[in-house]
Symmetry: C2
Subunit: 520 residues, 2 copies
């Protein structure tokens, strides 16, 4: 009834001669893309790929990435977009975990892929998806297309598995999130509404295409029959050049990328004249960045998207009208937004009971984007989907107008003397001390308070802040119960995950040895 | 995973105190509406309504109509919104056909309902859904709510049947279109995008709520958590008063209603200041009406929606930017629009082969709104859904930009000497003769041409146009092959269906006796 090849077919029926992809100097129409996808699907079938089989990709952004996704769905198989920021070991783990026997790889990841392939005896084919001839007699994406006639569309859809998206490198082994066609189809439609995409628009893949932030934009473009354009990876000058060259109307990035664009020496409002909407995800936008953005890009509408891979990913969004820097409405800038259409958001306490507006608890969600579960992990699935609700692990509250505010990861929240302390808020206060390069705030055991607030500080080169100095610095900034009760000054950098998040579990470990923490 | 009670639950979670419905002087919040719906569902269960059972309604627009829809879904049952323009006999037929044992009825249809009920021995309960006490000791909508505690949500959804929508009175017996939750859910989302509905909007139910044109607006409002307001039926003064009183931002009507509003003596732009979007369906808008509308309502965005009940109903839409009355783009005003997101539209010849842009054939469609089929009519279902495509029965073409133009019903198109003649175009020319009150153009058998163009004319009182006068009138207006070759002057009015459409099959009958027409 509905599947992810519908987008390609609909656009090819409606406007066969309209541009589907523009990648550097290479442009293809929807009719051409459909033909290439149907042939690539036949090529995959020739490699033994059948319905439900997993096919992975490790590559920078390009039109071939888009063709790959559609071709795998055309063949009735399952895409596995691999994290380009992970180590070869992490990717080898996820590749083995999902049992992919075919991996597409571009020039940038060819060497890394060799390492991954060596660790994966199950891997049978590594396909070269880049310009130029495939090295070492390897199969090539373009060669598969050239040597195969079009396959019929498998018409997989509905609850058929469409993709496995690996996540959670920060909390141990990556987990494969199982997303059916239904979940991504609904999300494409929701994203098209939220990001205001229309058929004549041109979107730019600026964030990495393996990531759900970018896939919301790509899905929205495909369902509207808009044109996809690409930069291999985010780089301000390349992004601005692509916007100028192709008349880009929408892109999705993270807030730091917006700041990088605005502050780039070659930035000029005129170069971004065609842009109508900038979507962003990963965090809320600071008043400082937004003030600068509204001044330098007054014609652009800003939209925040809050999501999680488990929801395919959209949960909430903050629309353009809430991007104001003055007046009472400016408080909404800190919000993740309002629940997406048809998506149900509740704030619950530890026992799963609803909390009133304004009170902090865990954000739990339900909606048409919900995953089936984690690949081969029934226990973790059961721990995440409880009573039909996905437990996001995000701590937050909802105001009376339905705006959702995220305050911390639930497992990083500290309960001290019966009060909730949000590590993110304390970190924000500590980080304003001029001598602090990095800070992590964690809860450590306290017989008196249950947990006590503890800060771990890495000084800036040339500074030697003391523990008492840090604690004194917080006095005017934080209520008494939120202030660090103890501070560790640490010489070496804080441990980071592959995605660049601080591994707080590792920091908490020594303090909690032999004890049980309520939330971990 | 997803069902039509999600809308109500999502809004009640996000903004329990926001207004859900405002009907006359009565306002209810989303929390109140959810409570009432859960109680009404319990009341239905008390009447023996279980999952999959059909529950019908015959009523003008009101907040109770919205509660009815949600309560039936809450109970896991199937709504049957009955056509308020049909005769009691037609409604009795559809009520028996679907096997509903419970019928909701308001004051306006109480008498008619008695007739329907008498013809339907299967009907066990007629529920009064109007203000004031129920007559004759009948059960009341409000009484069911007052006397029952809330039932748990059945959480029906996905491919579960959500509604039976009767259609097709013009072509014999009404057919019940089976729409699952999936079809309506997707349509709600598509309608929210097309009609630009946001959470703080206020929509007005001005067209009858049994009709899919209105249900697109209602569904869009519910999925966005916007406020529903009502007029019992379309009446220009009441509509303007409601828009003023409630700050209405969106409504959906038919183009003639737009004209009625603009030409009403009490029309004033100021009264419609809050309106942002007017959606319309049923036909395209004439340049004359749009010119007047743009002059008198410059702040309003116009959107055409083309649909069919079989697609739940959205197939295509014409966005605000295509509502221009001058320049080359004005030609698009005659279009039904571009395919809705993810909806596939093809133009095919009699053998089902794709036709190139600009050529007229049958419009066939596929998409997430597709019905399961016609209730208990496997043959008619098989005739309509062929190879996975819904055959709309509409003849039309698609231009190179993907705009779909409808020229005629396929069965009313005439093939004369190998050329397609569209009865609607010929009727439009004949009707400009001052002596013509009504006209129908049909194809009649011709040994020379296969079919010959024939006009049936009802003269205006006081006029006596002759056949040759009519034919001569068409000479400067139509290409030779399109002109009527014969004319019948008819004293009595043309036969009409309950929906007011001319019954051309009946007119063709005498001409084709004993012969087979290719399309019938």
């Amino acid at each position: 009834m509905y599947g992810l090849t519908d987008m390609l077919n609909a656009a090819a029926h409606a406007r066969p001669a309209a541009l589907s992809t523009v990648c550097g100097g290479r442009a293809r129409t929807w009719a051409q893309t459909r033909e290439r996808v149907a042939r690539l699907a036949a090529g995959l079938q020739g490699l033994g790929v059948g319905p439900g089989d997993r096919v992975a990709i490790l590559a920078l952004n390009s039109d071939r990435y888009s063709e790959f996704l559609s071709a795998v769905w055309w063949a009735g198989a399952v895409v596995v977009p691999m994290n380009i920021r992970w180590t070869a070991a992490e990717n080898a783990y996820s590749l083995k975990d999902c049992g992919a026997r075919v991996l597409f790889v571009d020039r940038t990841f060819a060497a890394s892929a060799a390492e991954v392939a060596a660790a994966c005896p199950i891997l049978e084919h590594v396909v070269w998806c880049d310009d130029g001839p495939a090295p070492d007699g390897r199969l090539g994406h373009d060669q598969l297309i050239a040597t195969h006639g079009p396959a019929p569309d498998s018409r997989s859809g509905g609850e058929d598995l469409a993709g496995l998206y690996y996540t959670g490198g920060t909390t141990g082994f990556p987990k494969g999130v199982e997303l059916p066609h239904r979940a991504l189809w609904f999300n494409n439609l929701i994203a098209a509404k939220i990001l205001e995409v229309e058929p004549d628009d041109v979107v730019l893949h600026a964030a990495p295409m393996f990531h759900m932030a970018d896939s919301t934009l790509g899905g929205a473009a495909s369902i509207m029959g808009a044109t996809h354009t690409y930069v291999p990876r985010f780089e301000p000058e390349a992004v601005m050049a692509a916007i100028e060259a192709h008349g880009v109307t929408q892109t999705v990035v993270v807030p730091t990328m917006i700041a990088m664009l605005l502050q780039h020496p070659a930035f000029a409002t005129e170069r971004l004249r065609s842009l109508r909407v900038i979507g962003y995800g990963g965090s809320s936008i600071s008043r400082g960045v937004l003030t600068e953005a509204l001044a330098k890009l007054p014609h652009v509408r800003f939209v925040q998207v809050y999501g999680q891979t488990e929801m395919a990913p959209i949960i909430a969004s903050l629309p353009p009208k809430d991007h104001v820097v003055e007046g009472p409405a400016a408080a909404r800038l800190a919000a993740a937004g309002r629940a997406a259409p048809g998506c149900q958001v509740r704030i619950v306490d530890g026992a799963g009971a609803d909390l009133p507006a304004g009170e902090v608890g865990e954000i739990v969600v339900r909606g048409p984007g919900m995953m089936h579960g984690y690949w081969n992990l029934p226990d973790q699935t059961a721990a995440t989907i409880r009573d039909g609700w996905v437990h996001t692990g995000d701590g937050g509250y909802q105001d009376a107008d339905g705006y959702v505010f995220i305050v911390d990861r639930v497992k990083d929240m500290i309960v001290s003397g019966g009060e909730n302390v949000f590590s993110a808020e304390v970190e924000s206060a500590v980080s304003t001390h001029p001598g602090v390069a990095q800070v992590a705030v964690i809860g450590i055991p306290s017989d008196q308070w249950g947990e006590a607030v503890h800060a771990i500080v890495v000084p800036r080169p040339g500074f030697t802040p003391s523990a008492s100095e840090i604690m004194a610095h917080c006095e005017p900034l934080l209520a008494n119960y939120k202030r660090p009760r103890s501070v560790t000054i640490r010489a070496e950098a804080l441990p980071l995950s592959g995605a660049g998040k601080i591994l707080k579990r590792e920091l908490r470990g020594p303090f909690w040895e032999g004890r049980e923490r309520n939330v971990n």
